[in-house]
């Protein structure tokens, strides 16, 4: 019994608990309390296992190699299916299990309106299990199976509310392009197996870099790269995300945007940093940074033009993924740690924002920005939590978005100075401008949903049930903590993960035994950089917050004591002319400035760009499938030429 609780088993526990939970809910799902208990318990246990692994894997730098059925590699060939957990996969595992746990708590009360809830929770746990499996598995075919599971679970969940307009169509689009991505991954895995005769990830990373000159390996790399980018909804595939989020229930949008995109990014990191180790090439870094910048800027401008709250959030999650990709593509120590730090922050504040959108949908029944308004008076807690999320995503200092975005700018600019190529300065400028446009779109959302005038039909809207607020509160607290203590997050999470990312040999040796990597990889030792981390720049948020509070105190004291006369005319509730709004004399009728009538100056200047974008995103499946094929062919062309 004691070795059952030994931490070596925790990776398999966290994955199997979720699948077991899914199965149990199918069996006992009818009873409401039991179903919720199983779901929350499963998510909780998987999170607990991940947290328990922090000490051994993150701090001591140990890599857990877990062979299923104890079939250790024989004669230099790894036969059995392995699970490998190094700091990088544990980091993503932690990120995913937190999002899954909070979303599970949220959906307990959020789905109360819907029917056939047992199916919802089974699919929910299948999706969670799939993603955990993908992140922790050490076998490339096992990763493919997990990708299949999570894609189908996500498609089914997008179409869960099939009465919602566009849900079925969005799910179908997601299904088609998702399956194109999965088949690309499968084809890539098959070509790798043909060349390296093994499916174990570590052994592959030992063998494949040596065979990079072989054309079929290049094609395999292109296929895998495109396959995983469909999962991460990078630029050519981003309209899927917008439709999927628009229709899916909010707790599922949290998973899709917070978790699925991160699994795509994880896949790309594994490919480029470990399997094919092509990051050393300048042109390859340029490819990742270019894709990151394009998806960053394109999606934030598209978000500004949206009319629907959840579609806007969907476009934002892809633009934040663009940030992560740019940072990861820099191939510098601080760049990588900034990138995955931003991935963590993105899961937290994007989850919070989607839950807020869900709360608005749960109460008012619509997320159309042009119809909503003034909800802050009726839903004060949701407004405060939304504002925390909005400030975090737009990078306002005390919150976590700022810490990671600021590290990304540092990394970009240092890369520009170190590589002497002015292109990276342009990247920094694009990052900063995108951050301001993100702020603009969240000002638009807060004005058209939470502030401004409350329409009559939402008079009797009341606060969301406590469970949903608790979930949002969890995300908000995490947002503030990761924002205030970047150095702690660095020490425990991002720096070990970054060192693991640059240390491919450690990864291989852990699985295949000592010295294997140096023998196989001898000539191709990519420069495991001396991963040095310095506190990027001069900024300690805690002392800044302290000073802000002192000054805030001073200002409020001055504002309050100067009470020469009692503030007698505060609104006493009943509407009289004195407290009505100033309408240049007219009766103060209902008129809300929100939704699409904001930022005319910006939209007018960019009207040609916006009209071109409007035509591009036609919403027809054939176009998206065409883009996917074009992207695949371009990727193949690029790999063949460059590598």
């Amino acid at each position: 019994m004691s070795n059952l609780l030994n931490y070596i088993h925790f990776p398999i526990y966290s994955v199997m608990v979720l699948f077991l939970g899914a199965f149990l809910i199918v069996v006992l799902g009818k009873n409401k309390f039991l179903r919720h208990l199983i779901a929350v318990l499963a998510a909780g246990i998987s999170l607990a296992c991940m947290i328990a692994l922090i000490k051994p894997v993150m701090l001591n730098g140990e890599v857990i190699a877990y062979w299923m059925g104890n079939r250790v590699p024989a004669g230099g060939y790894a036969i059995g299916i392995a699970m490998e957990v190094d700091a990088l996969s544990l980091f993503f595992g932690l990120l995913i299990s937190t999002a899954v746990f909070v979303s599970c708590v949220y959906s307990v009360q959020y789905m109360s309106h819907d029917e056939n809830i047992p199916q919802y929770f089974t699919l929910f746990l299948m999706l969670a299990g799939g993603v955990m499996g993908l992140v922790l598995s050490g076998d490339i075919f096992n990763m493919f199976i997990m990708v299949e599971i999570l894609t189908f679970a996500a498609v089914a969940l997008t179409a869960f509310r099939n009465k919602v307009y566009g849900a079925l169509e969005a799910a179908f689009k997601y299904l088609v392009v998702g399956c194109m991505g999965s088949t690309c991954i499968l084809a890539g895995v098959i070509m790798l197996y043909a060349n390296a005769h093994t499916l174990n990830f570590a052994q592959l990373s030992g063998i494949i870099p040596g065979m990079m000159s072989n054309n079929s390996v290049k094609i395999a790399f292109a296929l895998l790269f495109v396959g995983f980018s469909t999962k991460a909804f990078i630029v050519p595939f981003h309209p899927l995300a917008a439709d999927a989020h628009g229709a899916a229930p909010a707790s599922i949008s949290v998973l899709i945007s917070g978790v699925l995109t991160k699994s795509g990014i994880y896949g790309i990191i594994r490919l480029t940093y470990f399997l094919f180790q092509t990051m050393g090439l300048g042109s390859f870094q340029f490819l990742l940074v270019f894709i990151g910048c394009v998806s960053m800027f394109l999606c934030v401008t598209m978000a500004l033009a949206q009319h629907d709250f959840k579609r806007l959030l969907a476009f934002h999650s892809i633009s934040q993924i663009g940030y992560v990709l740019t940072a990861v593509g820099l191939y510098t120590a601080i760049g990588f740690s900034a990138g995955i730090y931003h991935a963590l922050n993105h899961t937290l504040f994007k989850g919070l924002l989607f839950l807020a959108a869900g709360a608005v949908l749960h109460e008012t029944g619509t997320t159309n920005l042009d119809e909503l308004g003034g909800l802050s008076k009726k839903m004060p807690h949701t407004t405060v939590l939304f504002l925390i999320g909005a400030f975090s995503i737009s990078g306002i200092p005390p919150f976590n978005g700022f810490a990671s975005k600021w590290m990304i700018y540092q990394a970009c600019y240092e890369k520009a100075v170190e590589s002497g190529n002015i292109g990276y300065v342009l990247v920094t400028v694009i990052c900063l401008v995108t951050s301001v446009l993100t702020l603009a779109s969240f000002v638009k959302v807060s004005q058209s949903v939470f502030f401004g005038r409350l329409p009559e039909k939402y008079e009797n809207v009341k606060e969301v049930p406590w469970g949903m607020r608790l979930a949002m509160g969890m995300f908000a607290v995490l947002c503030v903590i990761t924002g205030l203590f970047p150095n702690l997050v660095g020490k425990f999470l991002t720096h070990p993960a970054a060192t693991a990312a640059f240390n491919a040999n450690g990864y291989i040796d852990a699985m295949m035994g000592e010295g294997y990597a140096s023998s196989a990889l001898g000539p191709f030792m990519n420069s495991a950089q001396n991963v040095v981390f310095y506190e990027a720049g001069v900024w300690s948020p805690v002392s800044w917050l302290l000073i802000l509070c002192i000054v805030l105190l001073a200002v409020t004291i001055v504002a309050v004591t100067g009470k020469y006369e009692k503030v007698n005319a505060l609104a006493t509730g009943e509407p009289d002319a004195k407290h009505a709004l100033f309408f240049s004399g007219e009766e103060a009728v209902y008129s809300q400035v929100g939704g699409s009538d904001l930022f005319w100056g910006f939209k007018h200047n960019w009207r040609h760009y916006f009209s071109f974008m409007h035509d591009l995103h036609s919403g027809i499946l054939n176009d998206y499938a065409l883009w996917a094929v074009v992207a695949l062919s371009l990727a193949m062309l690029f790999m063949l030429i460059v590598l």
């Binding site: 005319a569 004195k578 100033f582 004399g585």
Partner: protein
């Protein structure tokens, strides 16, 4: 704690808000001309503001027409205390040539306590300046005494020379004091 400075500065930075209650725009351009370089009301702190919430002195011009009456009263209501209401030109005081028209609702003083009247069919900018300065002093007076109906003796009241004006004078005097 800054009671004295607050009272002083209430008199020194009166912000104007102009309400056109159907005026022929003669007085409107005169009011704005007070802010031009020649007369420059800004040197004593006057500023034209766009919203009644920021205003201290409401300058009303034009015979209060039936259409504009509710709007004028609502806007005057929305100005925070302590406020002054100044009528510019003789239209708001009596309706001038438009007095008996069916669409004019008579002098503004029927509806609201008017602090200062500036007579003249387009009063001279200097006259408007006098009126506004007096209104600024009344503003400070209101802030000091706290009662919104406070008023000051009018330095420009005509000194009655004829003897029957004398009783009128005393009468106005002690009424002023009361």
């Amino acid at each position: 704690m800054f009671k004295k400075t607050i009272i002083e500065s209430t008199g020194k930075s009166p912000w104007l808000f102009h309400i056109n209650a159907g005026s022929c725009n003669g007085c409107d351009i005169e009011i704005v001309s007070v802010l031009t370089p020649r007369y420059d009301a800004e040197r004593v702190g006057f500023k034209l503001v766009g919203s009644p919430r920021h205003a201290d002195i409401a300058v009303v011009s034009g015979p209060v027409t039936k259409q504009s009456l509710p709007r004028v009263l609502r806007t005057l209501e929305q100005i925070p205390e302590p406020r002054c209401i100044v009528t510019c030109g003789s239209c708001p005081q009596s309706g001038n040539v438009f007095r008996d028209s069916y669409s004019v609702c008579g002098p503004l003083s029927k509806y609201v306590h008017v602090d200062v009247d500036i007579a003249g069919c387009t009063p001279k900018p200097e006259a408007i300046m006098d009126g506004l300065l007096l209104a600024a002093q009344i503003l400070a007076e209101k802030k000091k005494t706290g009662n919104q109906e406070a008023t000051l003796p009018n330095p420009y009241a005509p000194e009655k020379t004829a003897e029957e004006a004398k009783p009128a004078e005393e009468k106005t005097e002690e009424k002023g004091e009361a």
